[in-house]
Amino acid sequence: MSLLMDAGAWLGDPANWSGDNGVPTRTVQHLAITGAAVGIAAAVALPAGVLIGHTRRGAGLVGALSGAARAIPTLGLLTLFGLAYGIGLKASLAALVVLAVPSILAGAYAGVQAVDAATVSAARAVGMRPRQVLFGVELPLAAPVVVGGVRAAVLQVVATATLAAYIADYGLGRYLFAGLKSRDYAQMLAGALLVAALALLLELAFAAAQRYAATRIADPARSDRNDTRTVQKGPTS
């Protein structure tokens, strides 16, 4: 337990909370690379997943991709990119994007694909355009599963961003690797606790977002009043 006390002392030392190697800077870096990787991956994987779920073509590809992604060691991906692009941010960002794509793709596909076909037909039957069916019916109903996919990707990326410090001087993982090299267990443990706390906070935030998506967006009984109004306006005008 004295190890934990040492880590507590490290965390309590004001010197570790300022400057380029301070906790605030490192945390912001960690969040920035996580956000960037998930953002880029989502820009590619969300439309692709929705398209596959909507047309139900290429479903096998999604299954194979997410299965294979689980077997690939994340450290292997990082080191391969590190050797290919050289040490630095570009390599770690590229590896993190690759890691984030399968979960987001699978979530978007599974969410849209699970929307009841009868509901989609009904939406078409009342005269909704394809765009309206997608944005007004399929996406809201798919929202909880889509958010779940993003949640899994964020968890994966925030964890692997720690390893990214192995090939770039970036993020909270730096404390772990610096501590490992210099056998400074207090710094290592403090860094580990910070990363774990950050991951848990993100997990809780996304769990709340997923609940919000399930109760407010996907549940028709409680759906946005504005949407209902626009639908009702259609026949009268």
């Binding site: 450290l75 192995y166 772990l176 490992l180 267990y185 580990a192 774990a196």
Partner: protein, 222 residues
């Protein structure tokens, strides 16, 4: 392929180390998660707490967990006990929910019938609940096995040898082939374990093969 030709013995040795870390972790995960899952399935409030805690445990990144575990349990940092414990934590976290679902998937009427023909509650567990839960349990165990094999590589960062050593060593010495061999070997080990589990599942559930075919013909007749 020169690197592999010169060092295949080293790769085999690391593969053995890798298996010695991942197989015990998968076995321990199953042994711990199945009773907890069974309990969680029986008591709803407890079950909610357990699955909630499991989700949070799973959220903790691997390298930090490897560093936190020695501080909590008092193991030396560079030991296989640290790696096996961390992987067991993840395995249990992944498997508890699946185990609860697996026991939930057992038809209550089948259980009642077993009790009615005179099985004791203990016998119902061993002869009815557990065998019928195997398909779902097995699908969860396959996921755990594949992700465990992939996660063992992280152990190389704290100095516990396994196939991950090829990744760190290859990266530091700039040998792309060594890293690639490490990645491919890890995937191969994962796929082999997955295949073995699939075969074990088939052997353990002989009844699952023939009825499915008859169900299909029934569907066709309709």
């Amino acid at each position: 392929m020169t690197w592999l030709a010169l060092s295949w013995e080293y790769v085999l040795e690391l593969t053995r180390d890798h298996l010695l870390l991942s197989v015990p972790a998968v076995l321990l995960s199953v042994l711990i998660a199945v009773p907890i899952g069974r309990l969680a399935n029986r008591r709803r409030v407890l079950g909610g707490l357990v699955t909630g805690a499991a989700t949070l445990m799973y959220a903790i990144p691997a390298l930090p967990l490897l560093i936190i575990i020695p501080a909590v349990f008092g193991f030396p940092l560079r030991s296989s006990a640290t790696v096996v414990t961390a992987l067991t934590v993840y395995g249990v976290a992944l498997l508890v929910r699946t185990a609860a679902d697996a026991f939930g998937s057992v038809d209550a009427e089948v259980r009642d019938a077993a009790l009615a023909v005179g099985h004791s509650p203990r016998s119902v567990f061993w002869h009815v609940d557990l065998p019928l839960a195997i398909p779902v349990l097995l699908s969860g165990t396959r996921v755990v096995a594949v992700s465990t094999v992939s996660l063992v590589t992280i152990g190389a960062l704290i100095g516990v040898p396994g196939l991950g050593s090829l990744l760190t060593d290859g990266f530091q010495r700039g040998i792309t082939e060594e890293v690639a061999v490490g990645v491919v070997a890890t995937i191969v080990v994962a796929l082999v374990l997955d295949g073995l589990l699939l075969a074990a599942g088939r052997a353990l559930t002989p009844w699952a093969r023939t009825p499915r075919r008859s169900a299909k013909t029934a569907g066709g007749a309709r």
